[in-house]
Each structure stands twice: as structure tokens, then as C-alpha cells.
């Protein structure tokens, strides 16, 4: 028995229900419920965003030039990407151009975020789904060294280095205070790495933790701090003054050298540590190719990283733009943010109310009125949920659809689209990665493929940083030191009424903000973010979202230990604070519920 979804999944709720709440090692609050059959294979999956903040109504009536700071606080993990999206939306609405240097600096900051976020995600949020820390205790340090040196020229690889680390790890475990490793799923059969690979991975977990704090200094130099660097409508706030009076207070030679040295280290780390680690770990999991979900069916990317300032055409964007549906890689569709029939959000299974919930609404016309009700089959109470009823409303996340299709967004979506477009930047590294592991292209559509695409993208982004750093220096050398255009800074210069769209590719996927400005203030503001796409609940037609689809048909070693669920959900790098903030753009206030 079971229910067939329009997007090709057979849902069967007859088996045992497993609840994972909280899902940890993500940003924000997420709950997952699955049904497993008698063979412990997942036959139904339910993903629930369990937080809601309401940033958009807060933006109404404010100065559009301030919006970047508010929206930046949607997420402190993908810090800056909402701010960039916001300044682009405001610039689009007001017809503001930015200097070439501002474009280079923005790209440097956005690419820096990509690399940083991908590294932190893989090592600190995702690795423990593949790596058994306790198993590392029984590794042979000498064999670990041999393994490490066989896959990379990274210098921290001597037997002594690994022996010392293992000794420290042993003492740490023996202290009885396991800290963040407490109650992990150590020893589970779902872990497949030999002890030596585990020890090597633990070493790189710690090295990456040290290194990530240096990566973000690119943000600190150009934006003053990280997390949450500063941005500016019309350019970037940091002036350039390489050798004149007062250069110490601007982007000067010392600052440029600082950025260059970080880029060099990023390239080295992605080349010699991150990518080899993913390939090595992948080689032990290459027959565990579950988790593909929607990735082989329908993927979406808005594109990002414009080569030329103010040119957001497909040709200028270095990260590809397009949509693939029905698994047809031979056709990549164009994407238009302004078309009311392309991107729409549904709320039939979300804790919001529409006048007609069979229909979706474009973000320009979005309505978000909270409506927290549980379905009739839910178990527990309103404030103590045991099991949710996915036939009713069950998530604070809306269900965005592109021309009615549930879509996956993120690194894998971007790389599949780039691959389908035949772009060498994307196709060649994918082909090489798969060839090295002896895997066919279809293997890309998996949890492992998602994790690999992220690693490939980090490496790509590190090299692109070098490109834009060189470009920045070349432009300055040619005599152009501009970083901001201020001709339309003052609200007096703005039209009475206007609207705009800004988009980026956040580390987690396609991100766009829609803004309406009236009488120099924000009239309404709407964001549709990556985890809204990936974490979406069902839509009125019954299409399941990317998280839910990815869990389907995955066997679990032990349903009491949700390791496989975590592994696949983490491969999306969920960001729940991002996904669950959308709010009424049309002036409706929320019902004020009794305050305790």
C-alpha cells in the first residue's frame, strides 16, 4: 500500500514512526519524522521547520538602505549573503549602479563565505556522519601517516603528528567528559571508515577549526567584522587608498597583501585537505548512494558571481543559472524572478493561512498570516507534540515551487546545471571526481554527490577569489579606486514608488529578496531562501520537498540511532533561521496570542 506523489515517490505510513527532534548540527530548529518498514527502510518522510521569526514585517516602514543589516541577521552562518541580496534588491529597485571595484570586493566576500561555509559545514557539521571519532583511538599512527601521504602532499602527516593527536584524543575520551562528542553514535555499523581514515579526519576536523577563523578575515578587512560584516547600497563601505595620505585607514597595500595571503592558504587547503578528504571518505561509502531525492529530477539555480559590475545576465554570472525538471539534463530552462507564474509559495501544509490554499502566490503578492494548527491525526498536544500529521499543516516553512515543481537548490543543483550546460569549470572536475572513484554520473545524485559538489565548489570558489583579487589590483593599477557611487544615495533622488529583486547563490542555494519601496520607505519585503526550497513541506498536489524526497528508501542500520537521517539531511547544510522567517508583506498584523 502507499500513496504515489506527483513527483514520483511512493509514501507508505504503515511502518514504525521514528522522530528526530532536535536535528542537531544545523543552523536553527528542525524536526524529522519517518516511517520505516519491517526491513528498517524509510518509506515516508516528514520534515518540519520548527522556528519562525518574522523579519519582513519588521522591515516595513524602514529606510531601504538599512535593509541589508536586518536581513543579514536572518542568518549568521551564511553571514553576508542576505545582506548582498538585499543591497542588490534595493539597487535594482532604485536603478543604482556600483563601481567595478565594489563588484570585485563583493565577489571576494561572497566567495570567501562560500569557501568558509563549505569547510565549516563539512568538517564541523557533517563529518561526524561519516567519521567515527572513537574508532580513531585504535588507529595505527604509522599507517595513518602512510594513508595521508598517499592522498595528499599536505605537510601535517607524519606518524609522530598522528600519534600525538591520538594520545590527546585518548586522554580526552578517558577524562569521561566527552563534550560535543557525548552520546554520539560511535561504533555503529553505519560507519565504514577504517580507524586510520577516522584518525586522519579527526586531525583535519581540528585543523579546519583553527583555519576557519583566519578565512573570515577577508570579511573583516573589507567589512569590519565577521560574523555580520558591513555592506553599502551603491558599492562597498571600504575606501581604497593604496599609497596616499591616510592610506592606513583604507584598503592599502598591507590590506591587499593580507587578503592575498588568505586566498593562497584557501587554495592550498581546498587542494590538499578538503577535496582529498572527501574523495578518501567517499571511497569507503561509494556503494552507499542513497539520498539523491530530487537532485536527479528537478534542480534550480539563480546564478551568481557577476564577472562585470551591474551585469546580472547569464553570460556574466560565473555560477550558472537555470532550472532542470523531470530529470532531463538536455534542457536547462531560463529562470525569471519577475514572472508571477514561475516562483510561487504554497501554504496548504504550512502553519499559515491563505484565502485559497490550493493556489500559490508570487513573492510580490505574498501573504503570510500564521495559523498554528495541528492535523487531526497528530499525537500529543498543541504544546507537546509527539507525532505530526503530514496530511494537515506541519511546518513553519512554506512550500515554494518553480512552475509547480518542487526543486532542490544548493551546490549540487548548481553543479548539475553547470554540468548540463557543458561548462568546463563544472563538468571537468565532476568527471574527474567520479572517474577517480570509478562511479557513473548517476552516482552524483546522492548524499555523497551533494557532499562532493560542495567540496568541488569550495575549491572553485577559492580560485575565483584569486581571479577577483587580481582584477581588483589591476583596476586600481589602471587608476580606478572607486568603491561607491553616491549619486542616488539621498532619498530625494528616488522615485515615489518602485520595486526590485536581488538574488544570489548562498552557500546553501538559490536566494532572492523582493522589495517594494514607496515614499522612500520599505512598503514590503519578501525573501525566498534556500532552505525554504529544500526543507519545504508538501504542496496542495502532494509533491514532497527535497529533504523529504532525499530520505525516501534509505535503509537504517538501527532506527533508534538516526545516523543515516542525519547524514542525508546534513548533506543539504540546512539553515532553518533562513527558511522560516517569511511574513505578511501586505500590512496584516499577527493575532496577539495570550502572553504568559
Amino acid at each position: 500500500m502507499g500513496v504515489q506523489t506527483p513527483n514520483g515517490f511512493n509514501l507508505d505510513t504503515s511502518g514504525k514512526r521514528i522522530v528526530v527532534d532536535p536535528v542537531t548540527r544545523i543552523e536553527g530548529h528542525l524536526r524529522v519524522e519517518v516511517n520505516v518498514d519491517s526491513g528498517n527502510v524509510i518509506r515516508n518522510a516528514v520534515s518540519t521547520g520548527t522556528m519562525w521569526r518574522g523579519i519582513e514585517p519588521i522591515l516595513r516602514g524602514r529606510d531601504p538602505r538599512d535593509a541589508w543589516a536586518f536581513t543579514e541577521r536572518i542568518c549568521g552562518v551564511c553571514t553576508g549573503t542576505h545582506a548582498l541580496t538585499s543591497v542588490r534588491a534595493v539597487e535594482d529597485a532604485l536603478g543604482i549602479k556600483i563601481p567595478e571595484n565594489a563588484n570585485s570586493i563583493r565577489n571576494l566576500m561572497q566567495l570567501c563565505l562560500q569557501v568558509h561555509d563549505h569547510i565549516v559545514h563539512f568538517y564541523h557539521l557533517h563529518a561526524l556522519d561519516w567519521v567515527d571519532v572513537v574508532s580513531a583511538l585504535s588507529a595505527d599512527p604509522k599507517a595513518t601517516s602512510t594513508l595521508a601521504q598517499s592522498i595528499s602532499a599536505w605537510p601535517l602527516s607524519s606518524p609522530g603528528y598522528f600519534r600525538d593527536l591520538q594520545t590527546r584524543l585518548k586522554k580526552f575520551v578517558e577524562s569521561g567528559q566527552l563534550g560535543p562528542f557525548k552520546n554520539g553514535y560511535w561504533g555503529s555499523k553505519a560507519y565504514r571508515l577504517p580507524p586510520e581514515a577516522n584518525l586522519m579526519a579527526v586531525a583535519h576536523y581540528l585543523e579546519a577549526l583553527d583555519f576557519q577563523k583566519d578565512i573570515v578575515k577577508v570579511h573583516t578587512i573589507f567589512g569590519g567584522k565577521n560574523p555580520h560584516p558591513n555592506w553599502l547600497v551603491g558599492g562597498v563601505p571600504c575606501p581604497i587608498n593604496v599609497d596616499g595620505t591616510g592610506a592606513v585607514g583604507a584598503i592599502n597595500m598591507e590590506r591587499l597583501n593580507y587578503v592575498t595571503s588568505i586566498i593562497d592558504r584557501l587554495i592550498e587547503f581546498t587542494d590538499l585537505v578538503y577535496l582529498p578528504d572527501v574523495a578518501a571518505i567517499g571511497s569507503f561509502y561509494k556503494d552507499w548512494l542513497y539520498g539523491g531525492g530530487l537532485s536527479g529530477k528537478s534542480v534550480l539555480s539563480y546564478g551568481d558571481v557577476p564577472e562585470h559590475a551591474n551585469d546580472y545576465s547569464d553570460k556574466s554570472l560565473l555560477l550558472p543559472r537555470g532550472a532542470i525538471i523531470n530529470g532531463n539534463l538536455n534542457e536547462v530552462f531560463p529562470v525569471n524572478h519577475r514572472d508571477p507564474n514561475e516562483i510561487q509559495e504554497f501554504v496548504a501544509h504550512s502553519w499559515y493561512k491563505y484565502p485559497d490554499e490550493t493556489k500559490g502566490l508570487h513573492p510580490w503578492d505574498g501573504v503570510t498570516e500564521p495559523n498554528y494548527v495541528l492535523g487531526p491525526k497528530a499525537k500529543g498536544t498543541r504544546t507537546n507534540i509527539q507525532e505530526l500529521d503530514e496530511d494537515g499543516k506541519y511546518s513553519w516553512i512554506k512550500a515554494p515551487r518553480w512552475k509547480g515543481n518542487a526543486m532542490e537548490v544548493g551546490p549540487l543543483a548548481r553543479w548539475v546545471i553547470g554540468y548540463a550546460q557543458g561548462k568546463a569549470d563544472f563538468k571537468d572536475p565532476v568527471d574527474k571526481f567520479l572517474k577517480d572513484l570509478g562511479l557513473p554520473l548517476t552516482a552524483l545524485f546522492s548524499t555523497l554527490g551533494r557532499t562532493a559538489a560542495r567540496a568541488l565548489e569550495a575549491q572553485w570558489a577559492a580560485y575565483q577569489m584569486r581571479h577577483f583579487q587580481n582584477k581588483l589590483i589591476a583596476t586600481i593599477k589602471a587608476g580606478d579606486s572607486n568603491t561607491a557611487f553616491v549619486d542616488k544615495w539621498k532619498p530625494e533622488t528616488w522615485p515615489t514608488e518602485t520595486k526590485g529583486v536581488g538574488f544570489t547563490e548562498a552557500p546553501r542555494g538559490a536566494l532572492a529578496h523582493w522589495i517594494r519601496i514607496k515614499d522612500t520607505k520599505i512598503e514590503n519585503y519578501q525573501c525566498v531562501v534556500p532552505t525554504t526550497w529544500n526543507g519545504s513541506p508538501r504542496d496542495p498536489k502532494g509533491n514532497i520537498g527535497a529533504f523529504e524526497a532525499s530520505l525516501m528508501n534509505t535503509p537504517m542500520e538501527n532506527p533508534e540511532q538516526p545516523l543515516e537521517i542525519l547524514r542525508t539531511i546534513h548533506s543539504f547544510d540546512p539553515c532553518l533561521a533562513c527558511s522560516t522567517h517569511v511574513m505578511s508583506p501586505d500590512g496584516q498584523e499577527l493575532a496577539n496570542v495570550k502572553v504568559r
Binding site: 518574522g54 538599512d66 586522554k171 569521561g176 552520546n183 577563523k213 567584522k225 587608498n241 596616499g244 499577527l590
Partner: protein, 363 residues
Amino acid sequence: MGAGTETFYDVIRRQGITRRSFHKFCSLTATSLGLGPLAATRIANALETKPRVPVIWMHGLECTCCSESFIRSAHPLAKDAILSMISLDYDDTIMAAAGHQAEAILEETRAKYKGQYILAVEGNPPLNEDGMFCIDGGRPFVEKLKLMAEDAQAIIAWGACASWGCVQAAKPNPTQATPIDKVITNKPIIKVPGCPPIAEVMTGVVTFITTFGRLPELDRQGRPKMFYSQRIHDKCYRRPHFDAGQFVEEWDDEAARKGFCLYKMGCKGPTTYNACSTVRWNGGVSFPIQSGHGCIGCSEEGFWDKGGFYDRLTNIKQFGIEKNADQVGMAAAGVVGAAVVAHAAVTAAKRLATKRDDADHTK
């Protein structure tokens, strides 16, 4: 705490750090906290004899910028703070366990370390919709927060969210996001505001508590004096340009390229209490003003609702300030001393205004 738990000193000794380096670390810590040589000895003693203190780090409505900031800490390194100085037994952002296995740690900690663990809170509880705008383990986050607060020895409010409410509590505060001191009223709470706070300020506060076994000295608003008793403006390296009446007038103008004062561009440094201009950010690389943008005042209560980020402070009505920056600047251009006097007047007016704001909040 049970046998077999290591002290911080044990941990760093077996990491190959000499006793001499250990003492150097202790005196550096003492110095960076503004404490004398006697304190260094006490730090050394504490670290040699105490096992690691369990820390429970919970997340309400927030954006995780505080966690991200914490792991940027350069001294101590985040890995040493997390693995050697404290025992971070629960933190949903980085912990290996999930679901039941994660929930079990909370119960175990309450039983085993009653009155001994530190509760660190990032984000805040929303009270509308019966608290279900933030659900954790099927229940309202606020319940879990209150439960874990009961048996904590100390509570830290990380960042602007837990301390003041931050962005989700900006008007009209749709979820009724509420600072934690409004729902936990029977315990002292250390507020470490900022969006986010500086990494080394965060690790500095935690290690102060674990090292000295007491809370750092707090100001009237519950913030550690060691980091929050002076304004950005007081220690800003661009302050001489303020005093000389040299201001940036437009983005990327000649004055901006020379690093003049950003007061006229809306800088909130004169009314913001934080350590940005002294400790600086990300290992001391820079801070907002140094990178050309004014301070947006992110460690101040209700900073989202105190006028636009590019409005000059003097234009903000509720501050009741008569002089604006142009007048201050003109006076300064003529007589430097006059500018200082004018500035002092602005400061005094602001202080009064802030008091009035505080009074309003208690209504």
C-alpha cells in the same frame, strides 16, 4: 564531579605545553582581562585543580552568529576552549548526538551537575502562539529554557538576542521575542551583548567564570564591566579626526580615503558600549569603523529601533540633543577645545536620554 576528570592544567601539560608557558598564558590572560599579577597566580591555581565545567549551550530564536563568532576565538583557540577549558556537553549546533540522545544529555546534566553547570543561551524565546514559534523536542523552547535555568550555577546571555531581543524583537516584534532575563527572573544573568559579541570577549567571559569561580563584575545592565564599560568612541583611533572636525561627508570621498571620522555618516560609536575599538575583531584585524562603515550600535538595547543606521546621532529625537554634528564640527574646526566641550554635552544628554528610555521600559 567524578574522578577521572582532568583539570585544565593536566590537559595543557599533556598537550606538550611547558609549565613556564602555562604561567605565561595565565599572566597574559590576567593582563588581557585588565587584572593584576596576583590574579595570574589565582588563574594558574584554578586551572591546575579544577575539572572542566559543563556548559549547556541552548538556541532559541537567533541566527547562530554568536556560535559562529565563538569559534573564531584566537586566544584561547576555539578548540582549546571547547575541548580543554570547558566541557561543552550540549550545543545543538555542533554536538554529535541528535533527537533522544541529545535530549538525554540535558536530563543527565541536571541530575549529575545540579547547581554546577553553566547555561549559555543564544537567542531568545518567543512567547506568542503559546511559545510554539520556537519548538524544540516538540515543546516550546521557553519551557526547556526555564527547566535548564533552574539548576544552573550561572547563566550567560549571548549576544543581542538573549540580552535585549535583537532583530526579531524589533518593532512590531511579531513573535513577542523576549530577552531571557524577562523569563528567568530568579538567577543572575550575565549579558554579553553584540550582534554578535566579539569572539575573544565571549571566550574571555566563559573562562573568567571557570577560572575564578565567580561572575565577572557587572554594570547596572548586567554586562561585564571589563568589556562594556567604555564607548567605541572613547577609544576609537579616528577620535582625533572628530576632535579636529574632520568628517567623512559622502561615501568614498577624499575624507573617507584619508580615514576621517564617520560621525556624520551615522556612526553610533559615541553611544555604543563595546570593546570593538580596543579588542577589535577576528584576532584584532579590524573593526567596522576601521573598514570604513560607521558603528551600527549592535550591542545597545533596541538598536534596531533607534533611527536609521545612516542618520546622524544628533538627529535622533529621543536623545533630546540640541546640537547636531555640523555645529559640533564647525565649533571644532575653530577651536578644538570647544569641540570637546560640545562632545561632552552630547554625551551627557545621551546619558540622560538613555536613563529615560530605561525608565520607559519598566512601565
